[in-house]
């Protein structure tokens, strides 16, 4: 989908704070309220705006540790991929699962209360997954999301 400068400005603003009303956006971008509303609707209908997500202070909620795991499967084949994906997606501590090409087969994002809790998740849930092979863990120290190429 093609978007123009005004769409970009709207996307930037909503990426920072999706709770802004059309009236607020209109004032900030010096547009009319119906114009903003129309554009937001168009971006939503086209699927450019896929939804909303909360950014939470995980440490304050008791999740002190985020770990990224690079996972290599020991055995391959369609059946084992499906089994692995189904089982790994069912683990509540696993926030994200990406199938990747390169050094690893999958990249997982795991949240845990602390390192001891992470070890429990790793031993009881991750290392028991069907077909699991080599696992590399990197503990997240800091993270920032950038607005991206808009």
């Amino acid at each position: 989908m093609e978007i123009d400068e005004t769409d970009r400005a709207i996307l930037l603003a909503l990426q920072a704070d999706a709770t802004q009303s059309a009236a607020m956006l209109a004032r900030r971008l010096e547009l009319s309220q119906p114009a903003v509303w129309r554009r937001v609707k168009r971006l939503k209908d086209a699927g450019v705006i896929a939804g909303q997500a909360l950014e939470l202070d995980l440490a304050r909620l008791g999740f002190g540790v985020t770990v990224f795991l690079g996972v290599k499967l020991a055995t391959k084949g369609r059946v084992s991929l499906d089994d692995f994906e189904r089982a790994v997606s069912a683990i509540p501590e696993v926030q994200a699962v990406h199938h990747v090409l390169g050094l690893y087969d999958y990249r997982l994002r795991v949240v845990a209360r602390d390192i001891a809790d992470f070890e429990r998740v790793l031993r009881r849930r991750v290392m028991t997954l069907p077909g699991i092979g080599n696992v590399e863990a990197n503990v997240l120290l800091s993270e920032e999301r950038r607005p991206g190429p808009i």
């Binding site: 999740f63 699962v97 990406h98 050094l103 950038r146």
Partner: protein, 151 residues
């Protein structure tokens, strides 16, 4: 302090951030005024840092997504600060993360296609300071992206 009521609110809100307050009140079995007050307080205290719109980059024509695992020259005292400042100037970089482990830094990079990726990689990524090694993981599919935590 965060109590069980806050947790209940966040648990429902994180899986449907666009839920109207009236509906949130219903699913959490709380009064609507209580929900308003609690959500406001969670925002004020910074537990709920932001509600963001999620962009589907594929729809905008960015079909290539690569995770670059970067190792830095740690003999340079300011290596982390300088490489991160430079990475922020690259629009195609959508995530910058630092790690404790074998990897120092991870950059999530978007590109329109492989030709565009090669251009970004050669002209911008390889020009970043203090890098000793880069490994690329090309994203094939997203199996799960919950954006939620088991609160």
């Amino acid at each position: 302090m965060i109590d069980d009521i806050d947790r209940r609110i966040l648990r429902h809100l994180q899986s449907a951030p666009e839920m109207p307050m009236a509906e949130l009140a219903e699913v959490t079995r709380l009064a609507q005024a209580t929900c308003y007050k609690r959500v406001d307080k969670l925002r004020e205290e910074g537990v709920l840092k932001a509600t963001r719109s999620v962009i589907n980059w594929r729809v905008l024509g960015f079909t290539v997504e690569v995770s670059l695992r970067v190792t830095l020259d740690k003999t340079q005292a300011r290596a982390f600060d300088e490489v991160m400042a430079a990475a922020r100037e690259i629009p195609e970089v959508i995530e910058i993360q630092t790690f404790l482990g074998r990897v120092d830094l991870r950059l999530q990079v978007l590109a329109r296609d492989m030709a565009h990726y090669q251009e970004v990689y050669r002209a911008q990524i390889l020009a970043l300071p203090h890098i000793t090694d880069i490994e690329a993981l090309m994203q094939v599919a997203t199996i799960k992206d919950a954006q939620t935590v088991p609160i």
